[in-house]
């Protein structure tokens, strides 16, 4: 048998750290991870809460995804918007969603929003901010609607209206001037849409469409691409050349493969049933 059975643990592997630092020292940087740039917002209205997000993902100066989904499912009564490194937000929310499902099966009750917040903040603190996920967690549980922000190092806030991401200042300016408690559903959605559009038009890291999710105690409505202020214009003229625009001077065809067709007539034999 082997001399030493070292149990290989799963999780993150730091073997390449030495090689990466050496490469950075020589001038070859790490490839840029896809970030979400982002404007994400959340607000509490009379019956529940509204979450909103833009849909642009950037890789450096290039738009990597024009219509990505930034509002992730966590539980039937909870959704989470994610800003920061796209892979980190997706993996983190997927992992916490699985943990919440296990927790729900074990307790037999609907999950509370504080549970998800605690799981997220403990995980992000454990990784000391190396997991670049800035999240807005919103949900409705037995105690009513709750809205939390979670920063990459693990700190959290509990507030009635929040914004995160590179477009957070543009969106927060809209919220600060027009937010009032106990808004109706339509007012809440309109305010969220205006805040996201402020981020879309004033921040380079945010763009494309507006996603909205409305959560109340009875149901959740996922309004994907609720507003599309950046639709591409239809081209007015056709740039296709008509057939015959280019004159054919000479035609020569060379067969690379000799194609021969033979037809076999197959007469079925009578069945032998002796």
């Amino acid at each position: 048998m082997t001399s030493r059975l070292q149990q290989t643990k799963g999780g993150f592997n730091f073997d390449n750290h030495v090689r990466n630092t050496m490469m950075e020292g020589k001038g070859m940087g790490i490839p840029k991870a896809t970030k979400t740039g982002t404007t994400i917002v959340g607000l509490i209205y009379k019956d529940g809460l509204v979450l909103g997000a833009d849909t642009r993902a950037t890789a450096g100066p290039i738009v990597a995804d024009k219509n990505c989904e930034k509002i992730h499912y966590l539980a039937p009564n909870m959704y989470c918007c994610g800003a920061g490194t796209a892979a980190d937000t997706e993996m983190t929310t997927a992992l916490i969603s699985s943990q919440l499902e296990l927790h729900r099966l074990s307790t037999g009750r609907q999950a509370r929003v504080v549970t998800a917040m605690t799981m997220l903040k403990q995980m992000l603190f454990k990784y000391q901010g190396q997991i670049g996920a800035a999240l807005i967690l919103g949900g409705v549980d037995i105690n009513g609607p709750h809205l939390y922000t979670i920063y990459p190092h693990g700190s959290t806030d509990k507030l009635p209206y929040v914004t995160m991401g590179s477009g957070s200042l543009a969106a927060m300016s809209v919220f600060e001037s027009r937010y009032k408690p106990d808004m109706s559903r339509e007012e809440g959605i309109a305010l969220v849409q205006d805040a996201i559009e402020a981020g879309i038009f004033n921040d380079l890291g945010s763009g494309s469409n507006v996603d909205v999710v409305v959560i109340n105690s009875e149901k959740v409505e996922v309004l994907r691409n609720y507003a599309r202020p950046n639709e591409r214009g239809v081209k007015e003229a056709s740039y296709k050349y008509q057939r015959g625009a280019t004159e054919i001077l000479k035609t020569s065809i060379r067969n690379l493969v000799d194609i021969k067709e033979t037809v076999n007539i197959h007469t079925p034999e009578a069945m032998d049933i002796s």
């Binding site: 082997t2 730091f14 454990k126």
Partner: protein
Amino acid sequence: SLRLAPSSKASSAGSASVLDTSNSYGLHDTMRFGMRQIASEVSSKHPLENRLAEWDNTQMELKMNMARNMYGMHAPIKMAMERNLVTKARGPSMLPQRSNLGLDILAGKDESIDFEDFLN
């Protein structure tokens, strides 16, 4: 004694052992880690490496110390006894296995999922 998180410096910082990069034969694994460089083994570890490696042990120690402070000496002794029963005292017919179900249940890992469960 009531340490919440492990330190970022490894307790054996400044020393390297062959076991860090060993393969199943106990020697340095050139295929996975390249030619053996003592300098890189001693210095420049990622700040998270030691933190994550020691995380479970640190949490366990925290629980044991808090239980000792709150309930008395018997509480951590019972916890340690249960852990020994599932790790050391195994039946003669049991094959050596990597994953210990008893240990997972005692640590609460049977009802949770973490990066090490799917990133491996």
